[in-house]
Amino acid sequence: MKNKMKGRAWRFKDNVDTDQVIPAEYLITGDPKELSKHVFEKVRPDFAGSVKVGDMIVGGKNFGCGSSREHAVRALMGAGISCVIAESFARIFYRNSINLCLPPVECTMEVKNGDLLDVDLVEGRIQNLTDGRLYSFRQFPSFAILIMQRGGLMRYVEDSCTE
C-alpha cells in the first residue's frame, strides 16, 4: 500500500451502486483489465477511455451500494484508480476495497472534476491542489491497516495458514 498519492478527481454523486461501476452483463471474468474496459459504461461512457493511472474517484454518500460484486473494485483498480474518497461507503464495497488494497477514504470534500488531489493515508489528510483546500479524515481501523500493509486479505490468510 502506498501511503501518499496524487491524482486527478472524478466527481460522482450519492448512492453510486456497483451495477453502475460494472454492469452485470460483464461479470464473466474476474480480470481487472478486462473489467476496466466497461467501468461506468452506462452512466459515464467517456470514463473508461479517458481515465489515467493514479486518478481518484470522489463520491458522495453510500458509495458502492447494491451488489456484493468485488468486480466493481477490480474494475476500478484495472482502470488505474488509486483510491476512492466518499462521504460514506456501502459496507461490502468498503470491505472489498480493504481486502484488495484500494484505499476507501471516508471524507466529505468539495471537489470538481479534474481537480488535482494529494492524499496522505498515514497523516489522514487530503489537499485539493487545485483550490488549495485542506481536509482531514479518520484513520482506518487497525485491522484494515494490517491487511492493506500485508498486501491484501489473501496475504494475511496465507501467513495465518502457514504460521
Binding site: 451500494c65 447494491g66 472489498n96 481486502n99 484488495l100
Partner: protein
C-alpha cells in the same frame, strides 16, 4: 447483559463478550458463492498454493446467475465451479436441475438455522436473518479466505429495532412492509447496521414474507436483517435442517441505536420507482404503462408468491402489450407450483414460465429490457440499467401488484383487480 441478537450471536461465536464497533475474527458456519462471485474466489484460493486445502464441509456452491450457461464465458465460470467442487470433494454443490436461486436453496436445504453465522458472496445473503441467523454478504476474495480459514473478520454492528404492530390490509405483504421502511429511512438508513424486526405484525407474518423483509435490508444498507426465531421457523426446519442449532434471542433489556415504530394499518401496496429502492409511492398513485412484468427472484419467487399471483391471474389474460415472466426460485417451488395447478393458471393467462434461476433480476441473462421499456418486478433493485439498457426502467412491487399490473397493462394497486376467492 443487554445484547441484541446480532451481539449475542457474535458473543457466542467469539467466546467472549463483544461490543458494537469492535472488530473480531469469528468462525462461520457456512460460506456460499454463486457462479459469478465463485470464479474470482476460486482463483484467489488457488494462489495460496497446494499445501492449503479448503474446509470443504463449510462451503456451499450454487450456480444461479448465468446458468444454464448463456454463452461461452459464462460456461467457463460454471465449469470452474464444477471443477472446484470435484477437485476438493465439496459435496454441497447444486448442479443445474437440482437447485435454483442460491438464497432459496440455502434456506430450503437446511443450511440456514437460528443462531448460525453465515457469509455469502452475494449481497442478499442477509436474507437468512428471517430464520434468526446472522448472515451477511461478502466479496469473492474474502470468501476465498473463509474457504481456507473457516473464519473471517467482522465489525460487530450497531443494531436498529423496527417494531410493527397491528393487522395488515388485504394485499399488503412483506414486500410492501420493507418498501415502506426503505422509503422512510432511505438507501443508507441502516448502513453498517443490523436491523431487528419485532411486533405483532411480524409475528403473524408467514415465513415467506419474513424472508422478503430480511432479503431487502441490504437495500437500506444494512449488514443483516434479523427476525427473532419462533415456532414457525422451528416447524419449517423440522426434518430439514442440517445438524443442530441454538436459537438466540435478544436480551429483554437490549439496547438499540435507534427504534422505529410502524402501524400495519397505515401501510398500502407500494412501488419503488427508478432508480432507487427508496423512491416509493403507493401503487394506486403510479399508473405507469409497462412492457414487462416479472415474478420471481430471491425476494419473491417462493410458492406463496406464486399462489398470490395465481389467485389474481386466474381466469384472466395478461394485457396485450405486456409479457409476464414467471421464474420460480427453486426446483422445489417449481414442482409444487406444477402440482398445485398454478402453472396451468399462468399458462392460460399467457405468462412465460422459466426454470429456476436469477433470471432477469440483474439484466445479464434473459428478460433484458430495450431502451425505453418499463418493467414492474418483484425483484429487489431498480438501479439505472439494472435489467437492461440504461434507458429502461424497473419498478419494484409485490407479487400481487405485479400480477394485477400485468393484467391492466399499467401499474395498479392489486385491489383494482377483483379476484375469485
Amino acid at each position: 447483559m443487554r445484547q441484541t441478537i446480532a451481539e449475542r450471536i457474535f458473543t457466542k461465536k467469539c467466546g467472549k463478550i463483544v461490543v458494537p464497533g469492535e472488530i473480531v475474527e469469528a468462525d462461520v458456519d457456512y460460506v456460499m458463492v454463486n457462479d459469478i462471485t465463485g470464479l474470482p474466489a476460486f482463483e484467489e484460493f488457488e494462489k495460496l498454493g497446494k499445501k492449503i486445502k479448503p474446509i470443504a464441509n463449510k462451503i456451499v456452491l450454487i450456480p444461479d446467475h448465468y446458468v444454464p450457461n448463456k454463452d461461452v464465458p459464462s460456461a467457463k465460470q460454471a465449469f470452474a465451479m464444477r471443477e472446484f467442487a470435484r477437485k476438493y470433494s465439496i459435496k454441497n454443490y447444486f448442479e443445474v436441475g437440482r437447485g435454483g436461486i442460491c438464497h432459496q436453496i440455502m434456506i430450503e436445504s437446511g443450511f440456514v438455522a437460528p443462531g448460525r453465522l453465515i457469509v455469502g458472496a452475494d449481497s442478499h445473503t442477509c436474507t437468512y436473518g428471517a430464520l434468526g441467523a446472522f448472515a451477511t454478504g461478502i466479496g469473492s476474495t474474502e470468501a476465498a479466505g473463509v474457504f481456507a480459514m473457516g473464519k473471517l473478520w467482522f465489525k460487530v454492528p450497531e443494531s436498529q429495532k423496527v417494531i410493527i404492530e397491528g393487522n395488515l390490509k388485504e394485499y399488503v405483504c412483506g414486500k410492501d412492509i420493507i418498501l415502506n421502511i426503505i422509503g422512510d429511512i432511505g438507501v443508507d438508513g441502516a448502513i453498517y447496521k443490523s436491523m431487528e424486526f419485532y411486533g405483532s405484525t411480524i409475528k403473524n407474518l408467514p415465513l415467506s414474507d419474513r424472508i422478503t423483509i430480511s432479503n431487502m435490508c441490504i437495500e437500506a444498507g444494512a449488514k443483516t436483517g434479523i427476525i427473532p426465531p419462533d415456532e414457525k421457523v422451528f416447524n419449517y426446519l423440522s426434518g430439514r435442517v442440517r445438524g443442530g442449532y441454538d436459537p438466540i434471542l435478544a436480551d429483554a433489556d437490549a439496547t438499540y441505536l435507534e427504534n422505529f415504530h410502524y402501524a400495519a394499518k397505515d401501510m398500502v401496496p407500494m412501488v419503488a420507482k427508478p432508480y432507487l429502492p427508496s423512491n416509493v409511492i403507493p401503487a394506486s398513485e403510479c399508473g405507469v404503462e409497462i412492457d414487462q412484468a416479472y415474478l420471481g427472484s430471491c425476494t419473491n419467487g417462493r410458492i406463496e408468491d406464486l399462489r398470490t399471483a395465481a389467485r389474481i391471474l386466474k381466469g384472466r389474460k395478461v394485457h396485450q402489450n405486456v409479457r409476464l415472466i414467471v421464474v420460480p426460485a427453486s426446483k422445489d417451488v417449481y414442482a409444487r407450483a406444477m402440482r398445485e395447478g398454478i402453472f396451468e393458471i399462468f399458462l392460460e393467462s399467457d405468462a412465460f414460465i422459466s426454470g429456476p434461476t436469477c433470471g432477469a433480476c440483474l439484466g445479464g441473462y434473459m428478460g433484458v429490457l430495450a431502451p425505453g421499456e418499463k418493467c414492474v418486478s418483484t425483484t429487489n433493485r431498480n438501479f439505472l440499467g439494472r435489467m437492461g439498457d440504461a434507458k429502461s426502467e424497473v419498478y419494484l412491487a409485490s407479487p400481487a401488484t405485479v400480477a394485477a399490473s400485468a393484467i391492466e397493462g399499467r401499474i395498479v394497486d392489486p385491489s383494482e383487480v377483483k379476484h375469485e376467492k
